[in-house]
């Protein structure tokens, strides 16, 4: 079974059809997606600005990391769930959209960047926790995160248009 056939199979699920044909389903999901994205990405940006040395410089890095994390997760769960349901309601529509796949690549890269930072530079955070200028690895992770998440927003928004759409 090809990916395209698999998407077509999913699109015929009764729940996918119900969601697609629902009067308010798309509107509610898209609104929830954008609002929860503000919570998730807004707080990710605040954390990245600290890492990159652009803002929140009087707050220890570990404080920002630990204390914003639960709120970021709440935003991430809602935005992921609503995003998945938006996709689930019209899988073949998204299948042909190159910009949608680019968005997913940016999301994956942002995840890899966060993971790499946590298993490398962040391990020594106690040594530079309160420094205004963070180590190169932290600054790089912060800037990369800002760029990659901005990419997710840009390509996510552009997915609504029919540019670079293929059968």
């Amino acid at each position: 079974m090809t990916l395209r056939e698999w998407f077509e199979w999913v699109e015929n699920f009764s729940t996918s059809i119900a969601l697609r044909e629902s009067t308010y389903g798309y509107t509610i999901l898209l609104t929830a997606h954008v609002v929860s994205m503000c919570l998730f990405l807004g707080l990710i940006i605040m954390m990245d600005l600290r890492l990159a040395g652009f803002g929140n410089l009087r707050t220890p890095v570990s404080e920002i990391q630990k204390r914003l994390f639960p709120w970021q997760i709440v935003g991430l769960v809602i935005t992921s769930l609503s995003g998945f349901l938006l996709f689930y309601s019209q899988p073949t529509r998204y299948y042909g959209k190159a910009l949608f796949w680019i968005k997913l690549v940016f999301m994956a890269l942002a995840g890899v960047n966060a993971l790499a930072f946590h298993v490398t530079t962040y391990r020594s955070v106690s040594r530079w926790n309160t420094e205004r200028v963070t180590p190169f690895g932290a600054r790089l992770a912060g800037v990369l995160s800002l760029v990659l998440w901005a990419g997710v927003v840009v390509f996510g928004r552009l997915t609504a248009y029919n540019w670079f759409t293929y059968e």
Partner: protein, 159 residues
């Protein structure tokens, strides 16, 4: 007196026509508006969550608010600058959209609240806030700005 002629004038301007003729312009402005929104929301929420007793509770409230301020103001300037051409491109549609007027009215209230009550409380003596007022102010801020953002998203979907 109706302000419909003003909206018609905006949409009919030569500069509006030129902007409309650029294929990617509307989409790019839309994207920049969304990026500004995320920065603005981050700066607001880090303080509102702190007001409600969560997030950066080990840092003084005034410090959190002072550090977030440039991002709130910068984000809002971005929203304003990208909102103007968006409005010019679809002025008449916006004029007839009840959600547009609701958004604008709530935005005026939210702006006044943010730069008066919320600003004074976050910059003042934290001990005077007590246990309740911080939560009330944080919650009101979130509710007001959500009431701006949600209709803004809905205008494009339901008019």
């Amino acid at each position: 007196m109706s302000i419909l002629p003003f909206f018609e004038w905006m949409e009919g301007l030569a500069v509006t026509e030129s902007l409309r003729s650029v294929p990617w312009f509307g989409a790019m402005i839309n994207v920049m508006h969304l990026l500004s929104l995320v920065v603005f929301a981050g700066g607001l929420l880090i303080v509102d969550i702190r007001l409600m007793g969560g997030g950066l509770t080990k840092q003084p409230l005034s410090q959190v608010a002072r550090e977030a301020r440039p991002w709130v103001i910068g984000g809002f300037i971005g929203l304003f600058l990208t909102g103007i051409p968006q409005l010019m491109l679809t002025a008449i549609k916006e004029y007839y959209a009840p959600l547009f007027w609701f958004k604008m009215e709530v935005m005026v209230v939210a702006l006044i609240f943010t730069f008066t009550v919320r600003h004074w409380l976050t910059m003042g003596d934290e001990a005077r806030l007590g246990r309740i007022w911080g939560k009330v102010v944080g919650l009101v801020s979130i509710v007001l700005w959500s009431a701006v953002a949600i209709p803004a998203r809905l205008i494009g979907l339901v008019g």
